[in-house]
Symmetry: C2
Subunit: 213 residues, 2 copies
DNA sequence: GACTGTGAAGCCATTCACAGCT
DNA sequence: AGCTGTGAATGGCTTCACAGTC
């Protein structure tokens, strides 16, 4: 088997390209060059071409790329030629925001369950869902063929939730809790750490004011 | 002047180390080795030492690092030896969640203003803040000496908000809108793109099921 | 003996530059 | 002439391996 080794940064940009292409398509633009994509998303043209080259030849020399075709290819590569059901654990403010985040729907993601261990939150309505006790977690995951879970609980509870997710058969976790999760190799985990991003900003601001002394 | 060129990945990890060290400190642990830090946050021991080496020598050979000292150093490096006032633009679900996110307070970040252009949201209470019209934006930024703004509006409005932030004197932006912002070089921007992270997961899940055919 | 600090090596991602096609 | 596709060159981050210190 040809083992496709693609840099994660490339996958990240592919996701961004695909959204940009959707925008072009919606605006009725049918052809685009690597330079225009680069301009639109803030990378170099060579980078765009190299990224796409990992997956095939999608363009026409001298002309560029067909927007609709390339859009479909990128979506397919990202696995977005199907629906994905998601579950969210944690019905606090962040969990609520994620459960109702419109950006997910647009990209074919569907939240099918929201869970919390806090008895005061169970039964609460979020959109057309009801917050459930974690007792129902494994069953709902099975019924809806869920593969991805989102963790939006405080750090102390995150590992326990991850364990439950893995035991219930999820293959991928998006973790918003600021802790390193311990999971088997086969489980894909990506962290979104809100404070870290802010601290990159403060680092740079602090550096800058130190330099101007 | 010695120009300190530090990889962004190093800054990211520094932020993670510092939080881990806070946890150790809270648990009364006073000494730690690079191996223990590595274990705790999921990187290699050499990486930990290399990262710290960008900023000085903080350990004792044969012994390790003093937790409290190293914690303070890392916080200082990240610019967290002071308070930072933040403003959030966008009082939708995401803006609301960010405005009330406890993780920010813990790290010395303080949300001092939440704004929206939607007249139905203005006046709404979020914690002890009131959602304000953008008319008040420049004034509040000045009064509270704000340097960092968070964008939590739909993609169409993001660039306009960024322009206002820059005109009002902010030096750094954390952008949750899934678009590339156009800003002058001096303005620091970092993007948090929720869909992108999910799509890295679907990419890997799709890849995996393709490989097992 | 244990663990840090660091030059060197290795590895990976990005950029360059140009051949190839329309 | 214009733009893609790609091998080669570059640059940057991570890992290695060991000298230095307690």
């Amino acid at each position: 088997m040809k083992t496709l080794r693609v840099p994660e940064a490339t996958v990240t940009r592919l996701s961004i390209y695909s959204r940009f292409l959707e925008r072009l398509d919606k605006n009725g633009i049918s052809n685009v060059s690597s330079g225009e994509i680069a301009e639109g998303v803030g990378v170099s043209p060579a980078q765009v071409r190299k990224d796409l080259a990992y997956f095939g030849e999608f363009g026409t020399r001298g002309v560029g790329y067909n927007v609709q075709d390339l859009m479909r290819y990128t979506l397919k590569i990202l696995g977005l030629n199907r629906h994905w059901s998601l579950v969210v654990v944690g019905a606090g403010n962040l969990g609520f925001a994620l459960s109702t985040y419109h950006g997910f729907n647009i990209r074919n993601f569907n939240i099918v369950g929201v869970f919390d261990s806090d008895i005061t939150k169970i039964g609460k309505r979020i959109g057309n869902l009801e917050v459930l006790s974690l007792d129902h977690f494994p069953q709902l995951v099975q019924e809806h063929d869920v593969h991805i879970g989102i963790i939006a609980v405080p750090p102390q509870g995150a590992q326990e939730v991850a364990d439950l997710m893995i035991k219930s058969g999820l293959g991928a976790i998006l973790n918003f809790a600021p802790v390193a999760l311990n999971v088997p190799d086969k489980t894909e985990v990506r962290n979104v750490d809100l404070s870290v991003k802010l601290e990159i900003l403060t680092f740079n601001l602090a550096l800058r004011s130190a330099q101007s002394l």
